[in-house]
């Protein structure tokens, strides 16, 4: 039994001497009120303070003053919903840690910030190694659409170009570099064939600002599979291609 107060726009729970409080704009407000009324204190507390929920899951990450740190580097708040989703879906933390580590390995601060912007508006589909999965459209002969004959995207191929040749300006919406995208952007992508590609987050150069951050410019990618009916990719770990 813990003291609590529920008002029309706030709920406050004094849980183990700590004051937990959220407003009605919080997505779990109704759920928290129900849990408190039922007396499920622990669940209610973790819902109110995601830090509590994450701390038991995110081993290897440090949670301090409302922020997450990995190896002393701050992880963007945009990752919080993804971490919670991964936990709810019962995934192991290791792929996510690998993903974050690779993001931190990205040599450009500008690129890292753009990745954080990408993760805060998109689902992230990652592999057990922590690489991101994206779609790409190519021509019928598997050559790229833009130049028509520079790179051939055959399944299993790794296509790379020098990082410094890839435009890192997010405001250049179409520019030099290898372009991949999320499901939402596919309809804006010309070409006949759809491929699923794996990208190391450290190879992401920029996330153009158009199309709600659904397009990504990278300097290296590996073609995993040709997809006949592309599906939206959720925030999950995809251990084998579909």
């Amino acid at each position: 039994m813990y003291p609590y107060l529920i008002t029309s726009n706030t709920v406050t729970l004094i849980y183990q001497g700590e004051t937990l409080t959220v407003t009605s704009t919080h997505p779990t407000f109704e759920e928290v009120c129900d849990l408190i009324r039922k007396g499920e204190w622990d669940t209610a507390a973790t819902k109110m303070r995601p830090a509590l929920a994450i701390s038991s899951y995110a081993e290897g990450m440090e949670i301090r003053d409302g922020s997450i740190y990995l190896d002393g580097e701050e992880i963007d708040h945009g990752m919080v919903p993804h971490i919670l989703t991964m936990k709810e879906r019962g995934f192991d933390i290791a792929p996510l840690l690998a993903f974050l580590q690779k993001v931190l390995d990205n040599p450009s601060m500008r690129s890292r910030n753009q990745i954080w912007r990408f993760v805060s508006t998109n689902n992230i589909a990652i592999t057990p190694e922590g690489n991101l999965l994206f779609y790409k459209r190519v021509k019928d002969d598997y050559y790229d659409i833009h130049t028509g004959g520079t790179f051939q995207y055959k399944v299993g191929n790794t296509i790379a170009m020098p990082r410094h040749d890839v435009d890192d300006d997010p405001e250049s919406t179409c520019s030099h570099g290898l372009h991949v995208c999320s499901y939402e952007y596919l309809k804006s992508f010309g070409g006949q064939r759809t491929l699923l590609c794996e990208v190391n987050p450290a190879d992401i150069v920029s996330v153009p600002i158009d199309y709600q951050n659904t397009k990504v410019r990278v300097c290296c990618l590996t073609v995993k599979q040709e997809v006949a009916n592309p599906q939206p990719l959720d925030t999950s770990v995809y251990d084998k291609p579909f």
Binding site: S24, G66, H77
Partner: protein, 629 residues
């Protein structure tokens, strides 16, 4: 904060029926919380942080901004905390404050601690006081009335107050923005949950700060408030950008919500005085720095870093064509790409023009600064630079680049490089439609547009060093037009060929000997003042003293006779200080009176009585005089 209520109230023949009362109900509470603040989040941060600072000025307060991991705003001070009695008597009472008699404390309206009710119906307070940590929840009940509930009470050796306010789903950035009000808190709060860098002022004095901002403001105690210069009756251009004056608590009136300054006559007068003083001081420092510069670019660099660094830096290629969209000035093909300039910087005329070429050459735009100068759109900006520039170089109070010379040897002597524009047509209109296609020699218009800096003023200097200046306000065409008329007028006065020299502030030569460029002029002025001992005041009187002075110069053949309406202003000659040198000193009446007082002590009390107007005092003065004579 000292808040005074001293209304005069004298009456006669009135019968008091009752006092007014303030009803305590939910509506009134709403009026004093959620309806009081126009920006509640900013107010909560300011109010709670001000209370925390009032509570403890030795230990920094700790502030945690809401994040997705911990969606509440928390603030913790290390003051003495509040006893249960103080909680019920002050914390929960609207209008109750312990800070009214003291201008060292920020608060005083008795509303700040309740500010979280502006966004939420409940918040938690933990008071660490005298070995006990007591947790309370303040909440608004169904009827709208707030109440305080005690939750727990445990032994604890810490002191202070911890307030935890649940944060609605607003972005952390909105809270971060509110932190700017605490930029000048000492000690600086410790911010958690977000990276926050407190700004470092460029320049910090006991009276004002210069910070990297376009706006001006006032620090009332430690709290920053923006100031609207228009409401003070000051031009925006008269205050260095980013100037923040410091005022003690109590000298500036603020609204009950404490969101802004109240522009009452008293506050306006204090602020005006502070800004005037700050500006003067800052100007002195800048001029002092400039006086130590050996070359014009150095001086320019000082100006650029001292005042104008808060303005706009562009590094665009020379001759870039800019285009204008609805929101930005840009180059290249994409409005979202490239060096954008805010549309507000362009006046309406330029916006209508839709497209123009930035007329400057980077190579000529001295190495001191990569600022680019729009031909006439940032005229005020140039004016300010040139004012300082000309003040230092030519001893003029106002500035200019174009100098009309009968004999440019003054420039040679002074080492100022110049460009000659000698082919200005003197009697033909500049643009004759019938001659539009006819080949012409390089016109002044062409030459002027090729200058590396746009002219905004000109100074005309003749062989004797007589100088006059005028704004060139509108266009190059008008500039040429004015120059033509000037040249014509000079040619009427003298048969000597007149040359127009264009001097731009890009000269790189030594300028240290320039203030002595007009020795003869000064000698004539001094002699004139000695011969005509008129009363010299600080008010310029063109039709009085200066008309005569000018006429004397004309009679001496030292300057051309101008039309009355184009009377030049001799700002660069400080006539008042010249007069102080030239005229004999005024008789020292006060000293004489003091000397008399030592001989006749009875005179001393007479001084004040002499100014009196009432009959009793006058009578007393007369009696004293009778007694002594």
């Amino acid at each position: 904060m000292l808040i005074e209520i001293n209304n005069t109230h004298q009456s006669q023949g009135l019968q008091k029926i009752c006092d007014f009362h303030i009803e305590t109900n939910g509506i009134m509470v709403k009026a004093l919380t959620s309806r009081l603040y126009s920006n509640p989040i900013s107010s909560i941060v300011r109010e709670l942080a001000s209370n925390a600072l009032d509570a403890c000025r030795t230990h920094p307060m700790e502030i945690r901004l809401p994040t997705p991991l911990a969606p509440s705003f928390s603030i913790r001070d290390h003051g003495p905390g509040l006893s249960p009695q103080q909680m019920s008597e002050v914390f929960t009472r609207f209008g109750a404050s312990t800070k009214r008699g003291d201008n060292n404390q920020i608060g005083g309206f008795g509303l700040g601690a309740k500010s979280p009710f502006a966004i939420v119906n409940s918040y938690a307070i933990t008071s660490y006081h005298q070995g006990v940590a007591t947790t309370y929840i303040a909440s608004i009940a169904a009827n709208g009335m707030p109440a305080l509930h005690q939750v727990s009470s445990d032994p604890n050796n810490e002191t202070g107050l911890h307030i935890e306010v649940p944060a609605p789903n607003t972005s952390t950035l909105e809270w971060k923005k509110a932190l700017s009000q605490l930029d000048y808190f000492q000690p600086q709060p410790v911010i958690r949950g977000i990276q926050y860098d407190f700004p470092t002022p460029f320049h910090d004095t006991p009276d004002y700060l210069i910070v990297k901002s376009d706006d001006i403001g006032v620090l009332v105690g430690p709290v920053f408030y923006p100031v609207d210069p228009a409401k003070l009756g000051i031009s925006y251009y008269d205050i260095p950008k980013g100037m923040v004056v410091k005022c003690p608590i109590g000298t500036i009136e603020v609204t009950a919500s404490r969101e802004e300054v109240v522009y009452s006559p008293a506050t306006i007068s204090v602020l005006k005085g502070k800004f005037a003083h700050g500006r003067q001081h800052y100007r002195e420092i800048t001029l002092d720095l400039i006086s130590k510069c050996r070359t014009a670019p150095e001086a320019w660099r000082v100006l650029a870093s001292a005042i104008f660094d808060t303005l706009y830096n562009f590094t665009t290629p020379s001759g870039t064509t800019f285009k204008i969209s609805n929101t930005a000035l840009y180059y290249g093909d994409d409005p979202t790409y490239g060096g954008n300039v805010g549309i507000a910087e362009l006046d309406s005329r330029s916006r209508r023009r839709k497209r123009w070429v930035l007329n400057w050459a980077k190579s000529n735009c001295i190495e001191a600064s990569d600022h680019c100068y729009f031909l006439d759109d940032t005229r005020r900006w140039q004016e300010r630079v040139q004012k300082h520039f000309a003040h230092t170089i030519l001893g003029s109070q106002r500035g200019g680049d174009i100098l009309l010379f009968q004999d440019p040897t003054i420039l040679d002597d002074a080492g100022i490089p110049y460009t000659k524009v000698s082919s200005i047509p003197t009697d033909k209109p500049l643009r004759n439609p019938s001659q539009r296609k006819a080949p012409r020699t390089l016109s002044a218009r062409n030459k002027l547009t090729r200058m590396d800096a746009a002219p905004t003023h000109f100074i005309r200097v003749d062989a004797d060093g007589n100088a006059a200046h005028r704004d060139i306000t509108t266009s190059v065409k008008l500039t040429c037009d004015i120059l033509c008329r000037m040249e014509k007028r000079i040619s009427q006065y003298t048969s000597q060929p007149t040359e127009i020299c264009v001097v731009t502030p890009t000269c790189k030569t030594d300028i240290s000997n320039l203030p002595n460029a007009f020795p003869e002029w000064r000698t004539i002025a001094l002699q004139f003042i000695r011969d005509n001992p008129l009363e010299v005041t600080r008010r310029w009187d063109h039709h009085g003293y200066f008309t005569k002075f000018h006429q004397a110069l004309v009679d001496l053949g030292k300057m051309p006779a101008f039309h009355r309406n184009s009377m030049p202003e001799y700002h660069h000659l400080d006539i008042v200080s010249l007069a102080a040198d030239a005229l004999p000193p005024k008789p020292d009446y006060e000293g004489k009176f003091r000397a008399l007082c030592t001989q006749h002590p009875w005179l001393e009390p007479m001084e004040s009585a002499l100014n009196a107007t009432d009959s009793a005092s006058i009578k007393r003065v007369l009696e004293t005089l009778f007694n002594h004579y």
